[in-house]
């Protein structure tokens, strides 16, 4: 078995790494826009006009990413990770996937319940997915904020865990997902 093959087995496939980093950029942008937009007057309209289509893009991408994952071979966890750590890592992955799927849907749903037009670009707009109810809107609007903060905290935990593995444990965890080519060994 060649050294290159060995290295490849330790890494996520290219398609998974591409989707991971693309979505990381989009989701961080989205979280920043989201929290800035609700506190903004002058920039509110421009930000919300990006927020809607970007949210739908993330919804589509997370579906593609999930399907792609089902057809991909995942690298093993580093041996340095205990079974408890593997459980936590796996649970946090499920949480992140779920939030990336549910958060845009709640956004779409809340605007649907308010019968507010969901404009993507120009005259292109989405159909409503929930019945007209302002009480439902009010509930989903709060849910949207709550889930967004939860997603942000999940991101901070994920980032912290990767930093810990990279700087303290030094087990090469990051190289499994790194966009660059790892050193051949």
């Amino acid at each position: 078995m060649s050294a290159t093959t060995t290295t490849d087995r330790q890494r996520f496939p290219g398609s998974m790494r591409f989707l991971h980093w693309l979505m990381a950029a989009l989701v961080l942008t989205m979280l920043g826009i989201g929290i800035a937009m609700v506190a903004s007057l002058g920039d509110y309209h421009s930000l919300v006009s990006i927020h809607r289509p970007l949210g739908i893009a993330i919804l589509i991408l997370v579906v593609i990413r999930f399907v792609n994952r089902q057809f991909s071979t995942l690298p093993p966890f580093p041996a340095t990770m205990s079974s408890q750590e593997r459980f936590v890592a796996h649970a946090s992955e499920i949480l992140l996937y779920t939030l990336l799927f549910v958060l845009p849907l709640v956004g779409w749903g809340m605007l649907s319940a308010a019968r507010f037009p969901i404009i993507l670009f120009g005259s292109l707009h989405l159909f409503p997915i929930l019945p007209h109810s302002v009480m439902l809107y009010a509930f989903l609007r709060k849910t949207h904020t709550f889930l967004a903060y939860l997603l942000f905290l999940a991101f901070v935990a994920h980032f912290g865990a990767v930093l810990f593995h990279t700087l303290i444990v030094r087990d090469g965890l990051l190289s499994r997902m790194a966009p660059w080519l790892s050193r051949a060994r």
């Binding site: 071979t73 007209h132 302002v134 009010a138 901070v156």
Partner: protein, 384 residues
């Protein structure tokens, strides 16, 4: 769940066949010294705190004086009290239905479907410009009309207009400061005149706008007055050419000056009752007129009127032929956000537009979750 299965499968494969490859990068990194480990842990902590701080900074957590939609709504609530289920401003209202007949003349200004020849359904709401849903009608109170045009391709156009010829406040900060100045004094329960005078002294554009407003005597009712969009918008036609416009609804019903005092001292809803009576007699109509800006006309300041003689384009006729209490009309639950626009209409650089959109949304979100109290104009009042 499948990801778990995949991982376990990988682990199993790993355990059986690739025992030496479980720690791929550095199998035995040299142990960190206590000092180095501490420095690295500190760096991680600083990085994570930095990320959280950047996020909170974007959310305005470190600028408590910054004007936000939430602080705007709070100030409306301080001035008016909280009236469960009602709009934070323009709280007292009555809903209407009808249609808009476009004559096609607007198509050269904007490619919006609403300006192609034809009829689109309209739902709307007349209102008084204050935050008390049970206020006594007065001719001097600003009158408002919010409309939603439902276009055949599923797009919407929403607009919220008032009967003033210019808007007295030029930007969100001026609006907020005026609101603070109008807060009732806890002892007299009236706004402090000194604060109002101080606001005018520091806002000459408001004083100039008020002079224009005072030169227009209010009409006798909701049905025979102009309603003005005031903020400029940018229209884009099918050739991609942009034009700045302001719009006005000009009543077909003849103007009649209000007589100053309430005509019927016993009816605190005389303006709304007058509207109900007149719409029961015959449909009410307005011409929708677009005023087209010339280069140099201010598009970012609604306190300044555009010069006389600007081109005016009558783009069609609004007909309102039925009336409903808020309690029985879907218009109660519409946020007449001025930036719900079809393709072909876009905001200008007027800072009030985005701010209105943001604050209306905040008001809508707050009232949406509250118990809906009965409207002052009840369904039985509408049937009289």
């Amino acid at each position: 769940m499948a990801p778990s299965g995949a991982n376990q499968e990988s682990k199993a494969t790993n355990g059986r066949e690739l025992p030496s490859e479980t720690a791929p990068m550095e199998k035995h990194p040299a142990p960190l010294t206590a000092g180095s480990r501490f420095a690295r842990l500190t760096s991680i902590g600083v990085l994570l705190l930095g990320v959280v701080a950047a996020f909170l900074y974007l959310g305005g957590w470190f600028s408590p004086q910054k004007l936000t939609p939430g602080r705007f709504a709070d100030e409306f609530e301080r001035v008016n009290g909280i009236h469960s289920g009602f709009r934070r401003n323009h709280a007292k209202g009555l809903c209407v239905r009808g249609f808009f007949d476009s004559n096609g003349q607007g198509a050269r200004l904007s490619k919006a479907v609403v300006f192609q020849s034809g009829r689109v359904p309209v739902i709307g709401r007349f209102s008084l410009g204050n935050g008390d849903p049970h206020s006594t009608d007065a001719l001097s109170t600003v009158r408002g009309l919010g409309l939603q045009f439902s276009l055949p391709d599923g797009e919407q156009w929403r607009t919220a207009m008032i009967d003033l010829p210019v808007f007295p406040l030029k930007d969100p900060q001026a609006f907020y400061d005026n609101l603070v100045a109008s807060q009732p004094d806890p002892n007299t329960h009236r706004p402090d005149p000194a604060k109002g005078a101080a606001f005018l002294a520091s806002h000459p554009e408001t004083a100039r706008a008020l002079a224009i407003i005072k030169s227009h005597a209010p009409s006798s009712g909701f049905d025979n007055t102009d309603y003005n969009g005031l903020n400029a918008f940018r229209f884009v036609n099918a050739d991609g050419a942009s034009t700045y416009v302001r719009w006005t609804l000009a009543p077909v019903q003849p103007y009649e000056a209000g007589t100053g005092a309430s005509p019927d001292k016993n009816d605190k809803n005389f303006l709304f009752d007058g509207l109900i009576a007149s719409i029961h007699q015959h449909p009410l109509q307005w011409h929708l007129v677009m005023t087209v800006a010339q280069p140099g006309d201010p598009t970012d300041d609604a306190t300044i009127p555009w010069p006389e003689g600007r081109e005016q384009v009558d783009v069609g006729t609004l007909t309102l032929d039925s009336v409903d209490s808020e309690e029985t009309s879907p218009a109660r639950d519409i946020n007449f956000d001025p930036l719900v626009l079809p393709a072909g209409m876009a905001p200008s650089d007027d800072p009030l537009l985005s701010a209105r959109s943001a604050v209306y949304s905040q008001s809508f979100t707050r009232r949406a979750g509250e118990t809906k109290e009965p409207s002052e104009i009840t369904p039985s009042e509408v049937r009289k």
